[in-house]
Amino acid sequence: MATEGGTLASARPAAGWIGRARHRPIALAAVGFATLVVVIGLGVAMGSVAIAPIDTLAIIAHRLFGLDLGRSWSVSADTIVWDLRVPRVLMSLVVGTALAVAGATFQGLLRNPLADPYVLGTASGAALGAAIAVLLPIRIVILGFGLLQGLAFVGALASIYTVYRLSRIGGLSPLTSLLLTGYAVGSLLAAGLAMAMYISGAALRQIFSYLLGGFDGASWSQLAATLPLVAIGSALIILRARTLNGLLLGEEAAAHLGIDVVRERAVLLALASLITAAAVAVSGLIGFVGLVVPHVVRLIVGPSARLVLPLSALGGAVLLAFADVVARSAGDIPVGIVTALVGAPFFILLLRRSRTGYEL
């Protein structure tokens, strides 16, 4: 046979390469968890009010386990650590996880390396919802959620639902149709947002601050609503990793590999949109996390969604918590500026270092 080059002898060097690559996910997870611990520590310890690290630890130990480490602290220190810093750090982890998992999912579903959680109009929908909430003369707050979070959440989901329905042709939503409809609907919503900003007057700053993203208002009650949505949504996506693996080869080939593509794609789109909406409702539009993290993970462990999804969840959490620490220490600038400043050059560097680049 003309293909007899594949003897075991010639396979050996390659097998060694694979052998090394198999250990990479474990190493990456270990580094990720270690960094996570450091970043959580930094996030809770740092802030404009100086609180001794040992006091911070004592407050958390007391709140979590009722332990008394023999320290005393003021009521304000207790509030700052337990009601402001801890929820803020946890929220950055939850949002980072949501964006990175949603980004990996959209990239796999759309077979497009440039896809991010916002590609099908969620960002524009959420932004328009938030802008309308700012303009409406109604102020309601239920369990830490105002009209802004509510309308941003609804706006994100409504826009992606509209995109999905409009792109259907005879029961199917072809990928190109989905992407182009997403672009068209996104443009329409962006026009609405621009109009809202134009007439907003003094409220412009509030809309702008939402667009740049941040965790200023993070609270335990917000966390209590966001965390379950993101945790359950991400877990259900990770359980469907085999669908994303099949889609590596395209929709028809995935069907030949036993995947009910139409149903699975609808389910994954819904789950990824849900966790994106949950994230953008509380944090605003934070860019680059959902685009960059899955790529970094793929370059290290390969394209299998079984590894890419959970490691992206970890990486997204670490990156966004770190970005928030940087944002706070730089005078509380919006975290979206930091993720773009850190993410974009890092992404360019990775693309230049990877041997093959990306085919579009």
């Binding site: 046979m1 003309a2 293909t3 007899e4 080059g5 594949g6 003897t7 075991l8 010639s10 396979a11 060097p13 390659a14 097998a15 390469w17 694979i18 690559a21 990239q107 077979r111 497009n112 390396p113 359980l239 990793a241 085999r242 693996n245 099949g246 590596l248 080869l249 395209g250 028809e252 080939a253 069907a255 030949h256 590999l257 036993g258 995947i259 009910d260 793929r298 370059l299 390969g302 394209p303 299998s304 079984r306 990877s354 041997r355 093959t356 990306y358 085919e359």
Partner: protein, 250 residues
């Protein structure tokens, strides 16, 4: 193994296949030939359950296709796609591993048995030397072999190919054909392939089914099917251009 019973398919009122009766027995090796638009690819899509016939029935290993879900079909039929592009950097081993998706545990993923099947498919197709390579760096001929290995890893009794030799140079065309013959003769795989190249079809397939205008117009050995007059009539070329030779392998 594959039975089409009076199968007709129309797309938006246009009849693409009409009254097809075709049966491919277990262990057989058959090629579908015919001009562009004859309905060859649609027939393959009907056999793999991607389109549902408007009339008639398709059965695989005795079971009506309509009653099987995608995973059950994938365990019976492996399809070698035409050239594919992958959106992310993917090694040959990772790509061939996708052949195990219909067998994988949905929660735990690949088990040792799956990894063994991937290793043996890679050895069977003879692409061990490509293992750690990125599939996007391979030549078209090498990619074709990787896709065949993926289908072999799927371990289904039926192997279906849609123009496996298109884009390939002569050496890789022959290598792919020899591999198919080998998988059929040694491993007992039932093979149904759409082929454009009549010479390759005649040389490597003992049975040809000729489609024209959505109908099965001839079905038999290459010598029976490839008469100069029929080829002239179906493909619209001068019969003097056609010289039918005896098959080299059948």
């Amino acid at each position: 193994m594959i039975e089409l019973d009076d199968v007709s398919i129309s797309y938006g009122g246009r009849v693409v296949l009409s009254g097809i009766d075709l049966s491919v027995a277990a262990g057989e090796r058959a090629a579908l030939i015919g001009p562009n638009g004859a309905g060859k690819s649609t027939l393959l899509r009907a056999v793999t359950g991607l389109v549902v016939p408007s009339r008639g029935q398709v059965r695989v290993a005795g079971d009506p296709l309509r009653g099987l879900d995608r995973a059950a079909i994938a365990r019976r039929i492996a399809v070698v796609p035409q050239q594919v592009s992958v959106p992310f950097s993917t090694t040959v081993e990772q790509l061939v591993g996708l052949g195990r998706l219909p067998h994988e545990d949905p929660l735990r993923g690949a088990r040792p048995a799956d990894r063994a099947a991937v290793a043996s498919a890679i050895e069977r197709v003879g692409i061990g030397h490509l293992l750690g390579r990125d599939v996007r760096e391979l030549s078209l001929g090498e990619r074709q072999l990787v896709l065949v290995a993926l289908a072999v890893a799927q371990a289904a009794p039926v192997l279906i190919l849609d123009e496996p030799t298109v884009h390939l140079d002569l050496r890789h065309q022959v290598a792919t054909m020899q591999l198919l013959v080998d998988l059929n003769v040694r491993d007992g795989a039932t093979i149904l392939a759409v082929l454009h190249d009549l010479s390759l079809a005649a040389a490597f397939f003992p049975r040809l089914a000729l489609l024209d205008g959505g109908r099965l117009v001839a079905d038999g050995t290459p010598a029976e099917v490839l008469s100069a007059e029929r080829i002239g009539g179906v493909f619209g070329v001068e019969p003097s251009m056609v010289r039918v030779v005896e098959p080299a392998l059948s």
